[in-house]
Amino acid sequence: MDKRIPVTIISGFLGAGKTTLINQLLQSDQACNITVLVNDFGAVNIDTDLIIKREREVMELSNGCVCCSIQSDMVAQLHTMFTSDNPPEYLLIETSGVAQPGRIASVFGYPQLSRFARLDSVVTLIDVANIDGLSDEAHHLVRSQIEAADLIIATKADLVDPEARRAIYDRWLFADLPALEATHGAVPVSVLLDQRRGNLEQISAPETALPNQFVSAHWSSDKSVSYKRLQASLKRMSGALYRAKGIVYCDEFPTERIVFNKVGARIDFAKSGAWDGVPRTAIVGIGYANAITAEQIRHELEVAQGPG
């Protein structure tokens, strides 16, 4: 089991709704204690009843969450945070509206940080009601924020009709990049964050209690799958399948348990030791009900069992 701290980076242009989302995440009941790194402390509008302690750079909440402002040397700040006596259980980074989240995402690949933390996803918010009207310079930034994204949250979706939304996604996004539509800032936390810290032992059962626009599928097999074909299958489903994770019995590495975690366009595979008992593939995924059915998800995974 991967014990590293999951990290989600939240980006989006000014006014895209980052702070609304952060406030929502901080105030909801979480399965774990979230630490949030924010740019502008003042913009975090927390119910004062929730605040236990507030210092210059840190705010502690009664639900276990912590909010800190980003220091100028973020690599040093993160390293200090991860090696402290009380490291975060889940880290959320809100990038500034004009930041390039790709540069921040890159630091989690540095050996000095990758030992402690794993980048779960880069989530970019786009304001579908206003994205087309921004200046050229802003479009440049928005593109770099989309370029780094694994998952898109389309905010103010209720202000734009479905056809126009589709056109915006075609124009701005990529085929493998799923867009979650948020109305009034409401995004299901279970889709956005990986709160089970990559705990793969729990994937035997399908997700429960998902809002009805989502579909969940579970698939398992004793037959080995091809690593290459599985990658291709996941890639094909990428735009419709928000999250998937699994333990895989691979043709190419038959003696080792292969695990993977997919968040939107990001798919991370890893080796997880030798099989204990009979090898068996088990995968669970969450998709967008409009775009994919549970049957289609299972079919795509069956296809991965073909010859490599």
């Binding site: 100028s72 040093a76 200090t80 050996p111 370029e147 990529f174 990049l177 690593y227 190419e252 595979f269």
Partner: protein
């Protein structure tokens, strides 16, 4: 016969045509304790022959003497910039690398640009077949559903190494041939400040190298072509000279760089004295002829202006990746003290050996632990060899108080680079990892108070090559442009700073008895300025100093006012001064 006639025999009758050049009516600050101020100087055969009053020089004015009335202008010895890198600052820019030429090219446009560049630049010895340049944009690749990396590049070019930077310079895309030449394989370790993107299971590199990892590609590339190095050094030296610099150290050179410097030197176009330090390791670029150079080939480059009797290396790291090596743990760390690139035993033996060969060792030491071990190495070297070369502690960012007296005791030069002397977004931001140590950074005051010799090195492109910015910040330790309030560290006085930039520089090159002050019998190096440095309030003002003339070895090498025009002493350097001033916001 005309040439023979220039050799003056002791049997020839003495012809006295007087001095070559005389400057009168100046406020000349000599940096010579015996005579701190002078009104006039006379120069003959490259040396000062008289330093004193107007009446002292009058008898030396002959029929062919060019006399310049300074009209009360302030003059002083020329400046010494003891650590800088025009090649690193300008070389890549002048190397004619691939430029796709579009702000947001799509993959097809990148591909066509690569193929066109490859066709127009056949493989030759100088380029090694490399196609290197900028840029691609991750967004357009994702939009097109193409994964950038070796597979995509290999699909249309496999016979030549290709490396393309992304638009933000955050990553580099390389083909299989480039990865092979750079030795990047599944087994290659990631550097501390970046990583190789790999297949997570097979560990095979996919051809994207992020941040610090693309240095591995750079290291495998051939050096910038000779024409780029020539232009870089020529323009860098021209700017330095126009800003009053008469001597400099170009730290980190290889045989190609020395070839470029020699070409400029023998064409008579080197407007300053250059000490070039050969890279001890391949940490910036490869040095193919390192051991030949160090065993004697370096003398091939030697002239009055140029020598390569020095080596340079990175003993420890820097602030950002927390690799400066300290005597105590880094702020907020339990054990991490930084890292050394050479063992203490390595540096100890190499300093002693280089010292015997009269080669100066210049060691990059940012943490107090690195300079501590370097000083230990010099101490052992002195024990073995007795007095010898003046070795140089480069940057000296953080020094331990206990080591301050050792610079004098061991005759080691404390060199400081201005990048963190004053409050700025860089010092407070990128260097914030130093924590409280930041306030003890660049302890020039401490070294001087303990009798040590301190010099400055602009360290371009890390900070500006204009020496006057560091000069001002030395005496204010404040931001020269007022971008940030406050002070970092303890200032020194203007006369102390002038010594640092003149006679101390000469001392650090071992030529303090021949240059570095305005003294009869020394090399005639002098600069004339638009303001009296000892009269002005330096804050925000000193860095704006204009240089009205630069003279080196009695030859005027920068003459913006045309003082020597139409005379026998006419300035031969007439090229435009390139603009390498920092961008002021």
């Amino acid at each position: 016969m005309t040439r023979l006639a220039q050799y003056i025999s002791t049997h020839s009758p003495q012809r006295d045509l007087g001095a070559d050049l005389v400057f009168t009516n100046g406020r000349i600050y000599t940096v010579d304790e015996d005579r701190p101020w002078a009104e006039a100087v006379a120069i003959k055969d490259g040396m000062f022959v008289a330093v004193g009053s107007n009446t002292d020089v009058t008898p030396l004015i002959g029929p062919e003497t060019h006399v310049q009335d300074l009209g009360g202008a302030f003059a002083m010895p020329g400046l010494y910039d003891m650590h800088t890198h025009p090649d690193l600052a300008l070389g890549p820019k002048y190397s004619d690398y691939l430029d796709v030429g579009l702000e947001t090219p799509d993959p097809e446009q990148v591909k066509q640009a690569i193929l066109a560049y490859a066709a127009a630049h056949p493989t030759d010895a100088a380029n090694g077949g490399w196609v290197f340049g900028k840029h691609f944009v991750h967004y357009t690749f994702r939009k097109a559903g193409i994964e950038p990396g070796r597979d995509w590049l290999d699909s249309f070019i496999t016979d030549r190494p290709v490396a393309i930077m992304d638009r933000m310079w955050g990553s580099c895309m390389a083909n299989s041939r480039a990865l092979e030449l750079a030795g990047v394989t599944a087994e290659t370790h990631d550097p501390n400040n970046g990583y190789i993107v790999r297949d997570p299971l097979t560990r095979e590199p996919n051809g994207i190298l992020v941040d610090g990892a693309y240095a591995m590609i750079m290291a495998a590339m051939p050096p910038p072509p000779q024409h780029a190095l020539l232009r870089a050094y020529r323009e860098g030296a021209r700017f330095q000279s126009a800003r009053g610099v008469v001597a400099t150290k170009y730290l980190h050179v290889c045989e190609n760089r020395l070839d470029a410097l020699r070409a400029i030197d023998i064409s008579g176009e080197l407007p300053l004295r250059v000490e070039a330090a050969i890279s001890w390791q391949d940490d910036i670029f490869p040095v193919a002829r390192r051991w030949e150079l160090l065993s004697g080939e370096r003398h091939y480059y030697r002239s009055k202006r140029l020598n390569a009797n020095a080596v340079k290396f990175h003993f420890d790291g820097t602030a950002e990746p927390k690799t400066s090596y300290f005597l105590s743990p880094w702020p907020n760390e339990k054990e991490w003290r930084g890292s050394l690139n050479l063992t203490p035993e390595h540096i100890c033996d190499m300093v002693a050996e280089m010292d015997r060969k009269r080669i100066r060792v210049v060691a990059h030491c940012t943490g107090d632990g690195a300079s501590d071990i370097f000083l230990d190495a010099v101490e052992e070297c002195r024990r073995r060899n007795g007095p010898g070369m003046r070795h140089q502690c480069a940057h000296s960012t953080i020094l331990h108080d206990g080591n301050l007296p050792r610079f004098k005791e061991l005759d080691v030069i404390a060199e400081f680079s201005p990048v963190g002397w004053y409050p700025s977004n860089f010092t407070i931001g990128a260097r914030s990892a130093y924590g409280d140590k930041l306030h003890k950074a660049y302890n020039v005051r401490g070294v001087l108070d303990h009798g040590g010799v301190a010099v400055i090195g602009s360290d371009w492109p890390v900070s500006s090559i204009d020496p006057w910015i560091g000069f001002e910040a030395l005496v204010t330790r404040a931001n020269p442009w007022g971008e940030m309030e406050g002070q970092l560290g303890d200032p020194i006085t203007v006369p102390e700073a002038i010594e640092m930039l003149t006679i101390n520089g000469a001392y650090s090159m071992g030529i303090e008895d021949q240059a570095g002050s305005i003294t009869a019998g020394k090399a005639a190096d002098m600069i004339v300025l638009d303001q009296n440095l000892l009269d002005i309030d330096p804050k925000g003002q000193l860095h704006k100093t204009e240089v009205q003339m630069t003279m080196l070895d009695g030859a005027v090498v920068h003459d913006p006012n045309g003082w020597t025009k139409d005379s026998l002493q006419a300035c031969r350097v007439t090229s435009n001064v390139p603009d390498f001033y920092p961008v002021v916001i």
